[in-house]
């Protein structure tokens, strides 16, 4: 207590900075502020982590889809194959069958593949649209018919995926002198040293691990009762016992299966996949033909191991052998996947592209913008500046605010009922999609435009009225230009909202599988988010990365639109 307070001349309540109570209050306030800051930082960190993880995940999955492998082969364009009856006009060339040409090119590049199944697998390496590039080149320049052209042939999605994520391959030089019994079919390779003993030990170790796993599984199942379980336990025990028998006889040769890493012998320019392995000899199928049955000196032949077991891979040992050989020959080329950006949808992942969806999106958004911007802005101006205050305008205002919160699928149902069924507009068309999305975006734009108009200081309007401008002149000459950046921002955000919308478009049939790129507002089309949805549903592994890549494109689209909104706001922002 101060003297003044005691004397009663001054105010009776005053903050005493030194009292313990006041200091405790200050400390409590500091604690509260620190806690609040911590909450804020925590929330921000959490959001950042989510966003970073999301974007990183999408990039990791999607970026590989922007590259595509192809085989660069010398294709001899046989005039007889492409120009029936000697005609070399565009339609003949376009209609020709290029399959024999690409097959011939494969045979030339990798001769000696005679087994039917090997030939089939070789042919399957190429995409069904492998020759599309060649076809285009020939149509553009028919004089190339009859020549031998170095042509990139698109690989199938499976082959492409393998090349993007190869199995680890190890190679070990061998010490003995090896003698193969043949050059193709099933062959036996004998060696003068016990070269395969180490591998045999390795295999037995693996078998031991597998037997151990089987026994553990049997032990676990034994805890449960039931006949089926008992049968299963018995089977597991038998399998483990059989394995144990093999393990216990170290010198006996082993038969390999798909659950083991694949062991191969590279000898005399060929490749033999081991099916039976002993200490000094192996038996197996020839994957790549040998040049001869000559003896191979020590150090000139190798044991090759594909670490991933064949049953865990999408590609067979034969296909891996082909691809690795092509790769070693320098015939595999990795290039930017223009097809992804220039082609329409396809059932073949390597031929599928997003151009159709992009064009469909652009057309749809054009319709939406053309519909929403004028209607939205005029409605906002009328409501904000001209409409009187009445029960009707109140009702309209409430309804506009409610419309902005209506689930988008409802607009889709409305579009289906009104535009398709009642008005008979074409199904799957960007026109209908655009109008439906327009209904969805309109309330957003009206609300944003009204907010922007309201944010213009009334003094500007008064100034204009003061010099004798009419109400309309004041608004169109002064208020609207000042509100325009805000209106633009709202519109672009509304459009970005429309860009990401799927549900209403499903209802009006924009979910169809559409290969052709739309050329007009009434052509059947689809849009990016629907394309993503369609692809995400497909079982092919290659479509997984296509999906992520399409998401990347969609996000870029969004970033560009939002960037534009920010730029417009900064560019036209006026201070008063």
């Amino acid at each position: 207590m101060t003297d003044i307070a005691v004397s009663g001349a001054g105010p009776t309540h005053r903050v005493d900075m030194n009292s313990a109570e006041a200091q405790a209050r200050v400390r409590a306030r500091y604690r509260k502020e620190a806690r609040f800051r911590a909450y804020g930082i925590g929330a921000l960190t959490l959001t950042t982590v989510f966003v970073v993880v999301l974007i990183a995940d999408i990039l990791v999955r999607g970026l590989p889809a922007f590259w595509q492998h192809s085989l660069v082969l010398d294709v001899t364009v046989d005039p007889a194959a492409v120009s029936a009856g000697g005609k070399t006009d565009a339609s003949t060339i376009r209609g020709a069958d290029y399959y024999p040409l690409t097959q011939a090119a494969l045979d030339t590049a990798l001769p000696g593949i005679t087994a039917r199944s090997a030939q089939k697998q070789l042919a399957r390496l190429l995409s069904t649209g492998a020759a599309d590039g060649l076809r285009k080149r020939l149509v553009a320049d028919p004089s190339l018919v009859g020549q031998t052209l170095k042509t990139p042939l698109t690989l199938s999605a499976t082959a492409d995926l393998y090349l993007k994520d190869r199995t680890p391959i190890t190679t070990r030089e061998m010490r003995g002198t090896a003698t193969p019994s043949g050059t193709s079919g099933e062959v036996t390779v004998m060696t003068s040293a016990n070269d395969f003993a180490d591998t045999l030990v390795l295999i037995k170790q693996r078998l031991a691990i597998r037997a151990e796993k089987l026994r553990a599984e049997a032990d676990r199942l034994e805890l449960f009762a039931g006949e089926a379980v008992a049968t299963r336990v018995k089977a597991l025990r038998d399998e483990a016992a059989a394995l144990q028998q093999r393990i216990d006889q170290p010198k006996v040769e082993e038969t390999l299966d798909g659950k083991m890493p694949s062991f191969l012998v590279a000898i005399n320019g060929g490749l033999v996949k081991i099916s039976k392995i002993g200490d000094i000899s192996i038996t197996g199928d020839v994957l790549l033909p040998l040049r001869s049955t000559d003896e191979a000196k020590p150090g000139t032949w190798q044991l090759v191991t594909y670490e991933t077991p064949e049953s865990n891979r999408k590609v067979s040992d034969q296909e891996v052998a082909f691809l690795e050989r092509f790769s070693a020959l320098g015939k595999v080329e990795r290039a930017f996947n223009w097809t992804f950006l220039t082609a329409g949808d396809s059932r073949e992942p390597e031929l599928a592209g997003i151009r159709g969806a992009l064009v469909g999106t652009a057309l749809t958004l054009i319709v939406t913008l053309a519909l929403c911007l004028p209607i939205g802005v005029l409605a906002a101006i009328y409501l904000e500046e001209f409409a009187g205050q009445s029960r009707l305008t109140d009702l309209i205002e409430v309804n506009i605010n409610n419309l902005a919160a209506v689930p988008s699928i409802v607009f889709g149902l409305l579009g289906l009922a009104v535009f398709l069924n009642f008005m008979g507009m074409p199904r799957s068309a960007p026109l209908v999609g655009g109008i439906t999305l327009g209904l969805l975006v309109l309330p957003t734009i009206i609300i944003a435009a009204r907010a922007a108009l309201k944010a213009v200081p009334p003094s500007i309007k008064e100034a204009a009225l003061g010099v004798g401008a009419s109400h309309q002149q004041a608004i169109f000459h002064h208020v609207l230009p000042l509100a325009m950046p805000g209106i633009m921002t709202g519109t672009i955000i509304g459009m970005a909202h429309a860009l990401g919308e799927t549900a209403p478009l499903l209802m009006i049939g924009m979910i169809a599988f559409i290969v052709d790129i739309p050329h007009g507002f009434t052509d059947a089309a689809t849009v990016l988010p629907v394309q993503i949805y369609l692809w995400s549903d497909l079982p092919e592994a290659a479509f997984k990365s296509k999906t992520a890549a399409a998401i990347i494109v969609l996000l870029m689209f969004l970033f560009v639109m939002n960037g534009m909104a920010i730029w417009l706001r900064k560019r036209f922002e006026r201070r008063w």
Binding site: P457, S459, K461, E462, A463, G466, G468, A469, R575
Partner: protein
């Protein structure tokens, strides 16, 4: 020396007492009532404003002086709840008459607001806007001449002649207000309404505006609302005192300030309330 109109004008300006209300009334208000919804903001205000010179409206906050000022160019029309009764005429023409176009009225009655409110456009565009929408200029040089003349009359020309293309909002507060005056006189109004034009300005800028008002009174009928009694005494020839929505007293400025008839006026000007 012949007795020209200008000479008569000068006489009147030098001797404000010579300005008789009945001689040249420009704005005549009769029994004006203004309602904001149910609230009566002005009660039976009747006043006559002379053809040339400055008339000031003084009074405490909320007394209705700004409301009355805004009735003269019908700025109150923009307020939905506002209702005006009575009669206001300019040159014997009823400005609330149905046949009168409010936009043309505002071209004849210019207004300068409390806060400088130039358009966020170039200085040139600010001044040129009025002549342009009223079709006063017929060529580009014509328009440039008008802008020049208006800025010169507002005493701003020498300061801005090299930066006409720059934004009007980049000027200082006092310059902005003079720009607003230039904008108002660009359409050659007969009456200029000023709603506390100096309240947002520093004393130097205020002095500058007051000088300008003194220059303009030779050619315009100016009505100024002010909170500063010194300002009213300095710039105006006639003064009207408003209190609680009533026009208490109106007369020659020197008389109002030296020998007010009403007690309320005396109390206000001596600082007893308000």
């Amino acid at each position: 020396m012949a007795l020209t109109a200008e000479a008569i004008m000068d006489t009147m300006v030098m001797h404000p007492e010579a300005l008789s209300v009945t001689a040249l009334p420009k704005v005549v208000a009769k029994d004006v009532n203004v309602y904001y919804g149910d609230k009566r903001a002005l009660q039976d205000v009747s006043v006559e404003v002379p053809n040339r010179g400055v008339m000031s409206f003084i009074g405490p906050s909320g007394c209705g002086k700004s409301t009355f000022l805004r009735c003269i160019n019908r700025m109150n029309d923009t307020i939905p709840s506002c209702r005006v009764t009575g009669k206001i005429s300019i040159d014997n023409q009823d400005i609330y008459d149905k046949s009168l176009d409010v936009v043309q009225l505002r071209a004849r009655v210019g207004m300068v607001f409390q806060k400088p409110n130039p358009f966020p456009k170039s200085i040139f565009e600010n001044v040129a806007y009025g002549p342009r929408i009223h079709g006063l200029s017929h060529s580009k040089t014509d328009l440039e001449e008008m802008v020049h003349a208006s800025l010169a009359k507002a005493g701003l020309w020498s300061e801005v002649k090299d930066r006409l293309a720059e934004s009007g909002t980049g000027l200082s507060g006092g310059q902005q207000q003079r720009l607003c005056i230039a904008r108002a006189i660009a359409v050659n109004p007969e009456v200029i309404l000023m709603d506390e034009p100096c309240s947002a300005l520093d004393p130097i800028a205020t002095a500058r505006i007051e000088e300008l008002i003194d220059d303009l009174r030779k050619n315009y009928c100016i009505i100024i609302v002010t909170h500063s009694m010194q300002q009213a005494a300095r710039v105006s020839q006639r003064t009207a005192f408003f209190h609680l929505g009533e026009l208490v007293e109106e007369g020659v400025t020197s008389e109002i300030f030296t020998s007010p008839k009403e007690k309320r006026t005396q109390d206000y000007i001596t600082g007893r309330f308000g």
